[in-house]
């Protein structure tokens, strides 16, 4: 064909025709509309219905938002302003309540001059999370993650620094015991790792604590639990519950995977029991029954009791998530660990758990989202949650009686922003992890 000369053939066109524009129905907006909105009669009907819904929502809500009033100190004032500006019968949003009370939605009754403390804790939370979520960050940051929970407790509740330090010291002692005795005998080390901190906390902490308080009295203003409220309370319970439930959840997950009949049965019974009852009944256990189960005379504040029950609740769900992660690991990983001659705990620590936990992170994040939403239920045991407790309290004063929609929208929007970004993050992580495995 190479020696065929086109110009020798007279009837062959030697110049290219200018391309014609595509038919108007196949280009630009029209094509897009036809493809995406009106590709069939059914689709067209759906589009019209969708437009109608959007239109109805818009006409119902837009005027209400447009008539927003920020500078008012009571609902009545709001209504007067709206009537004055937009005429009789106009409705509008009264954001004055948010302007005046936003701090209670956020912090409850936390002393205003100390707001920096919860804010700092919240910011540091991200610093502590960063090395766990982003593996390329320096590993040294992990040590900050480890001390973060104690730091957060100290900053939130205040008081002397020593009890918190002593708690941390207990963990360090346990770790040291494990390290030192680990060379001698694994089992003794394991027992010591539990026993040393507990003995330390039970007997040594009191005197050392008193002594240190006298020598180096470092303390910040202490804040009682009953001053917590709003999103501070929700986030404290949510994050605290998840963090404390992780170790328990891992143990339960391993227990459920175990070959040992009794261990497995106990784990299954615990997990299924907790998952089988509504959180609200567990909260009632926290507020009404927990004191029955503890030795006579012990009593501690309701937030702590709620957190204990929320931790148990979360642990059951986390256990199921981690079990999923364990099950997703290829069998070969277990066999390889066995082949290397690692014992059970070493295999779990070096081979199984790092991988299983990694692929469980999206599940843990969704569990956290669920828990965070559920923290609103604490209102039913008399705590001031941001969704019902705080608005009910605000509505109990004369100025804001009868204000419903604005708090709903404000709190709902914050929940949405937090949960939506977390769920997006978890989806991103899921995609990234999927790629890692291929």
């Amino acid at each position: 064909m190479s020696d065929t000369h086109a110009q020798t053939v007279a009837y062959v066109r030697d110049t290219m025709l200018e391309p014609k524009p595509a038919p108007s129905t196949q280009t630009g907006a029209v094509k897009w509309l036809r493809d995406n909105l009106f590709s069939s009669w059914l689709n067209a009907a759906l589009t019209v219905a969708g437009l109608l819904v959007v239109y109805l929502l818009f006409t119902h809500f837009f005027p209400w938002f447009r008539h927003s009033v920020w500078n008012a100190d009571s609902l009545k004032e709001c209504r007067d302003i709206i009537t004055g500006e937009f005429g009789e019968g106009a409705t509008g949003a009264c954001w004055g309540v948010i302007r005046e009370r936003w701090h209670q939605f956020m912090f409850g009754f936390y002393p205003p001059e100390l707001y920096w403390r919860p804010v700092l804790v919240f910011v540091l939370l991200f610093v502590a999370l960063a090395p766990i979520l982003f593996t390329h960050l320096p590993r040294a940051l992990l040590s900050f993650s480890a001390i973060y929970p104690l730091l957060a407790i100290w900053l939130l509740w205040g008081g002397s620094v020593w009890p918190v330090v002593m708690t941390g010291a207990g963990f360090v002692l346990g770790y040291l015991a494990l390290k030192l005795l680990g060379n001698v005998n694994g089992i003794i080390a394991g027992i010591a790792a539990f026993a040393v901190p507990i003995l330390f906390w039970m007997f040594a902490v009191g005197p050392i604590d008193d002594l240190l308080k006298q020598i180096v009295p470092i303390s910040i203003q202490s804040v009682d639990s009953d001053e917590f409220g709003g999103f501070l309370l929700a986030i404290t319970i949510g994050v605290g519950g998840i963090v404390m439930s992780l170790p328990l959840g891992i143990i339960l997950a391993l227990g459920r995977q175990s070959d040992m009949f009794l261990v497995k049965s106990f784990s299954v019974i615990f997990i299924e029991f907790i998952r089988g009852v509504p959180l609200i009944t567990l909260l009632f256990v926290a507020s009404l029954l927990l004191n029955y189960f503890l030795p006579p005379g012990t009593s501690f504040d309701i937030i702590l009791r709620v957190m204990i029950l929320v931790t148990l609740f979360a642990a059951a769900y986390i256990a199921e998530v981690i079990r999923g992660g364990l099950a997703a690991l290829p069998r070969g990983q277990y066999e390889a660990a066995d082949a290397l001659g690692l014992d059970y705990w070493k295999a779990q620590r070096f081979i199984i758990l790092p991988q299983a936990l990694k692929i469980s992170i999206p599940g843990i994040v969704s569990t956290f989202i669920g828990m965070f939403k559920d923290t609103t239920l604490v209102v039913f045991v008399g705590l001031f949650d941001p969704l019902k407790g705080i608005p009910d309290f605000i509505r109990s004063v004369f100025e804001w009686k009868g204000i419903y929609w604005e708090p709903f929208i404000f709190v709902g929007a914050i929940f949405f922003i937090l949960n939506f970004s977390m769920s997006r993050y978890s989806m991103y992580l899921e995609r990234k992890l999927k790629r890692d495995h291929r």
Partner: protein, 338 residues
């Protein structure tokens, strides 16, 4: 205290066995703070203001007890309790006194193991309706929807009342006074029923109180008073006589303004004993002799507290009625201080 408890929990607290059960008084003194169970928010009786400071008629009782026991009316931790949680909170030791407009009934006093130490407000259950409904008597409420707070004695009274009068009704249960208000104002119920004082407080908060009437029928006796745990009589006596001190103070004309002056000694031996000038009444209940004086100084005598929180000059505007001193035709009657 909290910190030790926190550590205790971390170390699987209970294993260390509970603290020896001390008396409530010792507990409170050791803690330096009185745990007082109050309503989650009923204007006039107990409600936090915009800054979270609690005020109200029931709160004043907490303050008086704290002042009597600890010498400082501000050393109170207010524990908001719901109708659900209030009795357990008391039984479990979470609170030392329950001052949450709680009705004194036989079964609560006995079966629930509470001890009511007195009555700080004589109340009764009533109905509130809109004026334009044209109803003038509760007997005309046949077939009406009635909003009612769950977990209270009002629920049982309502059932009994309609049954006794051979009428029917649709109960619309609500969880809190705030919710009841919302439903009633929206017209979701024809009548709202709760203690008459609560109705007055609720109506006072409406934008148009004049359009609502409280029906004349009072269908129950609701003596409201502070309660303590059954079994610790010393503590019960302390709360009881603190309350009585407030009531007696009004009877003898001791007010927060003149208490300082009167405590220098008066002609009236009863006042002297009340204020600890004479005798050792305080020691008999484990307190010092000034407890009555401090209780009165906390927020005034009964009459002053009433006037400042729920009286006629407040938006709630309750008349003294049954809650006047016995000398004025009311039911308030403090046993003698001697």
């Amino acid at each position: 205290m909290k910190k030790t408890v926190f550590l205790g929990t971390l170390a699987a607290a209970g294993l260390t066995a509970g603290m020896a059960a001390a008396t409530t008084l010792e507990d409170v003194v050791a803690r330096g703070e009185l745990n007082c169970g109050v309503n989650t928010g009923l204007v006039g009786f107990a409600a936090p203001d915009a800054n979270g400071n609690w005020t109200g008629f029931d709160v004043a009782v907490c303050k008086a007890v704290a002042a009597a026991v600890l010498g400082d009316a501000s050393k109170v931790k207010y524990v908001p309790t719901t109708g659900q949680t209030r009795f357990t909170a008391l039984a479990s030791g979470e609170i030392d006194v329950l001052a949450r407009n709680t009705t004194w009934t036989f079964s609560r006093d006995t079966d629930l193991k509470l001890d009511f130490v007195g009555v700080n407000y004589y109340d009764g259950q009533g109905f509130m309706v809109r004026k334009d409904l044209g109803v003038t008597s509760a007997k005309e409420l046949d077939g009406a929807s009635v909003c009612i707070q769950t977990g209270t004695t009002t629920e049982l009274n309502l059932a009994d009342y309609f049954k006794a009068n051979n009428m029917s009704y649709q109960p619309i249960t609500v969880d809190s006074n705030a919710e009841g208000e919302q439903q009633y104002l929206a017209g979701a119920c024809d009548a709202y029923t709760t203690d008459a004082s609560g109705l007055a407080a609720t109506r006072a908060a409406f934008a148009d109180p004049e359009n609502h009437v409280i029906l004349p029928e009072i269908i129950s006796k609701e003596p409201l008073g502070p309660a303590v745990r059954h079994g610790d009589n010393q503590w019960g006596d302390i709360v009881m006589w603190t309350l009585n001190a407030l009531i007696a103070a009004e009877e003898y004309g001791v007010t927060s303004a003149n208490v300082e002056e009167l405590s220098k000694g008066t002609e009236n031996p009863e006042i002297n004993r009340l204020l600890g000038v004479e005798g050792e009444l305080g020691a008999m209940i484990g307190l010092d002799k000034d407890f009555g004086k401090r209780a009165i100084m906390a927020s005034g005598n009964y009459g002053e507290i009433f006037a400042a929180t729920i009286g006629e000059s407040t938006p709630i505007g309750l008349a003294r009625g049954l809650n006047a001193q016995w000398t004025q035709g009311g039911l308030l009657y403090s046993p003698p201080f001697r």
